[in-house]
């Protein structure tokens, strides 16, 4: 469209939600890898992210990227106390399913499967949507709370807390569900508005 905004008329786009890996292409020009400043490289936190256009695009505001990444890592990977990794990934996947972020849902549905071994349950969330029965009340309550928290105007309420508690969650676990679900309202909006998912060439060619 212009030198800094790109569209992709011929992109191999996904047709629905999937647990298979997807690529992501930026609509806005990322910083070139060999032009990253020290402050921008530092903000990536993980050096390998310099290869990924999403992170090189967010590096245009390094302080915001750094703080976003450190928030993300603690909410999802700090396993001292709180709820399990699988349920955090489930909250991320359910939020992404409800907001309509096919890319985020693919990453975090696959992560929920990896952490839980429950591929069929996770696939049901993707195929049938957020009302699907995932087989136990803890998972169903985590999905319902994530969906309620995604709605605007804010509508998450006491009934959601009652249901999470009824499923056996304590306050630390509920705070993790709120954190994971809330974080994906951040991530979904970046992934959906700064670029789009792409089916990797190897799979696209055999479709």
């Amino acid at each position: 469209m212009t030198e800094i905004v790109t569209d992709y008329p011929e992109l191999a786009r996904p047709e629905a939600f999937t647990q298979e890996g997807l690529g992501w292409v930026p609509w806005l020009l990322p910083v070139a890898e060999d032009e990253l400043t020290d402050a921008q490289r530092d903000a990536l936190i993980e050096p390998a992210r310099a290869k990924m256009p999403y992170f090189r695009l967010l590096a245009r505001d390094p302080e915001a990227l750094r703080a976003r990444t450190l928030t993300d890592l603690d909410i999802f990977y700090n396993v001292s106390g709180g709820i399990g990794r699988a349920e955090r990934e489930l909250a991320a996947a359910a939020t992404s399913r409800h907001n309509g972020c096919v890319f985020c849902a693919s990453v975090h549905a696959a992560a929920a499967t990896r952490e839980s071994g429950r591929e069929a349950d996770v696939q049901r969330l993707l195929d049938e949507g957020v009302e699907a029965d995932l087989g136990d009340e803890t998972w169903n309550a985590v999905v319902a709370a994530s969906v309620a928290l995604a709605d605007t105007p804010l509508d998450f309420g006491p009934d959601d807390i009652v249901r999470l508690r009824g499923a056996g969650l304590d306050d630390a676990e509920i705070v993790d569900v709120i954190g994971g679900a809330a974080f994906f309202n951040w991530a979904n909006r970046l992934m959906l508005s700064l670029g789009e998912p792409e089916v990797p060439a190897r799979r696209a060619s055999v479709r």
Binding site: E15, L57, D151, V175
Partner: protein, 220 residues
């Protein structure tokens, strides 16, 4: 410029030091600290550059109102009022006119077409747009898109920002700002609801919980 030192999520959630939920939040100290740093980076940057504080606060007021979060609307309204008093009533009126319900939107993915939904797609009218100015009018249009129907975002929306004078760095900062607020308001709201639903006898902070509970039932 004022630089709040309080933890903004605690402030919006009505959590005081010593409350039971303050201790729970401390189990994710890095997340707590970096949510605060995100606020500072996006809303109180040392060098706002070509994305001035008044525009940042205007976006925050708009997002808070769209979310129906009275405490956040008051908090960011104070920041905007201090920074650009003349802009505050214009942004507040626009945010009232822009009320909608989300997430909604048309899916681009063919097998999700049955799940496409409709809703209010807002842009400022001519009078409001003139009062906001071209840059801020474009920013609030983009904000409404991201808040309510992010799945309808397209490259054309970014091009509209470029056409209104936004450079690439500031488009990233604007996108982060809207997306971060979508997180911050939800964490604060969720904690507020959780605090109000806590058993006072178990929390060890009965009076504080009762106060928060009363604030929630009256305020939002």
């Amino acid at each position: 410029m004022s630089t709040p030192t309080a933890d903004i999520i605690d402030l919006l959630a009505g959590i005081a030091p010593g409350d039971a939920l303050a201790a729970v939040r401390d189990q994710r100290a890095q997340a707590r600290e970096n949510a605060q740093r995100s606020f500072e980076a996006l809303l109180e940057p040392a060098e706002p550059g070509t994305f001035p504080l008044a525009e940042r606060y205007a976006v925050a007021v708009f997002v808070s109102k769209l979310h129906g979060f009275a405490e956040a609307f008051a908090f960011y309204g104070d920041l905007l009022g201090d920074e650009a008093a003349e802009l505050a009533p214009i942004v507040e009126d626009a945010s009232t006119a822009a009320a909608a319900a989300g997430p909604f939107g048309v899916y681009r993915e063919p097998r999700l077409a049955d799940e496409s939904t409709d809703g209010v797609r807002w842009a400022p009218d001519a009078v409001t747009g003139d009062a906001l100015g071209g840059r801020l009018a474009a920013a609030l249009t983009h904000t409404h898109l991201l808040v309510f129907r992010p799945r309808e975002a397209r490259p054309e929306a970014l091009q509209a920002l470029v056409d209104a004078g936004w450079n690439a760095d500031d488009i990233v900062s604007l996108s982060q700002l809207i997306a971060f607020l979508s997180f911050q308001l939800r964490v604060a709201w969720g904690l507020r609801v959780l605090a109000a639903a806590s058993d006072p006898a178990a929390s060890g902070a009965a009076s504080a919980v009762a106060a928060v509970s009363a604030a929630v039932s009256e305020g939002v």
